[in-house]
Amino acid sequence: MAFGKYKEVMALKAKDAKVTGVAQDGGVVTSILCYALEQGVIDGALLAAKSDTPWLPKPVVATTKEEIIAAAGTKYTISPNMSAIKSAAREYALDKIAIVGTPCQIYAARKMQLYPFGARHIADKIALTVGIFCTENFSYAGLKTVIEDHCKVPIESVTKMEIGKGKFSVKGAKDVAIPIKETHKYEQDGCHVCSDLTAEFADISTGSIGTPDGWSTCFTRTTKGSDLMKKALAAGLFEKKEMAEFAAPMGLAMLEKLETGKKDKAKKTVADRTALGLFTTPGIVY
């Protein structure tokens, strides 16, 4: 089945101007986290926030609405959010932790819930998983190379980065867009065995693919995710549209095309590496 198991799929756009002003697309992650915090569903969230180095994210434990909003927006490089989960449970003494992450980070959180080898009294504190659509990621040096050598702007001058419509674009002191295929060689190779574009194991997953600018495609996948989203919609957090409004080749047709591409690439990568006699992750292709 395309997009993994899910309960509902919809197009969403946050209404809160504080969120839409800073969000990458529809502001779904930021809004739903703020709402979950308000409602007591969570008491904190693991997020990729800004660090002192331009566009190098660092994992943070956010416990206020302000901290959640401050971490909004996509950073196209690695933020090891799972590395902060022990700190969230111990130092911050959180009981209901939300994890926001790429599909691979959701894999990690889910595996930790079932096989918590070194996570004493931590995995049971995971209250919500919010997955972000992901095609692949860059190392920090890879991202910097794309921006400084290909887009030819200093990384610190950039205020927003986007991938869409076949382009990698940066906005800031100077707006530049380059063909996405120029960036492919800087993708981290560990992404190429991954079959999951839509965060198939999150409670809620969301991303820009399939919806117009300023909107996000959003799946609810578990009862927990679905109930929270229903309450958030009833509370008027989002403008909502049916995905059927976006006809092929946009909408779910586009998402499915990219997803199939990612799954095929993963199968091929795993087969190639196995043929070379290299270890690949059991279970990663499904």
Binding site: L114, Y115, P282, G283, I284
Partner: protein, 233 residues
């Protein structure tokens, strides 16, 4: 159905794994209620392994090669048991016992402490120092209920044997499988792993070689069917 006969064999370990088993709070009663604990120096009143067959021996601690009693005990446990489980780093990977060089009071001749698979065949490994209470609980319940799908990763050779942070470097980073999630860092009991630019960076002096990071890494094994069945509801 008769309850499985369980022996808890304590070799050279700190009892932390048994404490972790007990740290499941009231769930400990689920485990104790589901089994017949025939031997456990700390929890049961029996000095020796019982006569006859045992279903499962759970082994905590490394085996000291200079201690004849330990060598004999682990051999005897293997002979009598249907399954032998290496619980925790010392039994599974050698853990901190890997560093022993002997020459310490009050048994200075006790020099070498090795993971139990150096002497016997091991059926399943639960790495970690100690393994988290929840993973011990999940393992025990799966073993009693025959949940073989859940148990499969514990049976794989690559979670047992000598392990340290370097195994992540060799198996995951060198095979370009790492994507920088940071699970290894939060799984490390000694905080020997820090994430630097999206990759684990090991402090070799801190690493106790418990194997938790390697076992926890979602790129070492990914239990997709288990996640779908147990969590996506």
């Amino acid at each position: 159905m008769a309850k499985p006969k369980i022996a808890y064999v304590h070799l050279s370990g700190c009892t932390g794994c048994l404490v972790s088993l007990a740290d499941t709070y009231e769930k400990l009663l689920d485990i104790l209620g589901a089994v017949d604990m025939v031997y456990n120096l700390t929890l049961a009143d029996a000095r020796d392994l019982p006569e006859g067959k045992i279903d499962i021996s759970i082994v905590e601690g490394a085996v000291c090669l200079q201690d004849k009693h330990s060598v004999q005990l682990i051999k005897e446990a293997r002979e009598k048991s249907g399954l032998v489980i290496a619980l925790g780093g010392c039994a599974a990977t050698g853990c901190v016992c890997n560093f022993s060089r002997g020459g310490q009071a009050n048994q200075p001749q006790h020099e070498s402490f090795v993971p139990i698979n150096r002497l016997i065949k091991v059926d399943a490994y639960i790495p970690g120092c100690p393994p988290a209470p929840e993973v011990i609980y999940n393992f025990c319940i799966a073993a009693v209920t025959g949940d073989t799908q859940y148990l499969a990763p514990f049976m794989a050779q690559n979670v047992g044997g000598y392990h340290c942070g370097c195994d992540l470097q060799v198996n995951v980073v060198q095979n370009s499988l790492c994507m920088g999630c940071g699970t290894c860092a939060s799984s490390c009991p000694t905080r020997a792993i820090e994430m630097e630019f999206g990759r684990p960076s090991f402090n070799n002096i801190r690493c106790v070689k418990c194997g938790a990071c390697t076992a926890a890494c979602p790129r070492m094994f990914l239990p997709v069917a288990e996640i779908q069945k147990k969590l996506m509801v």
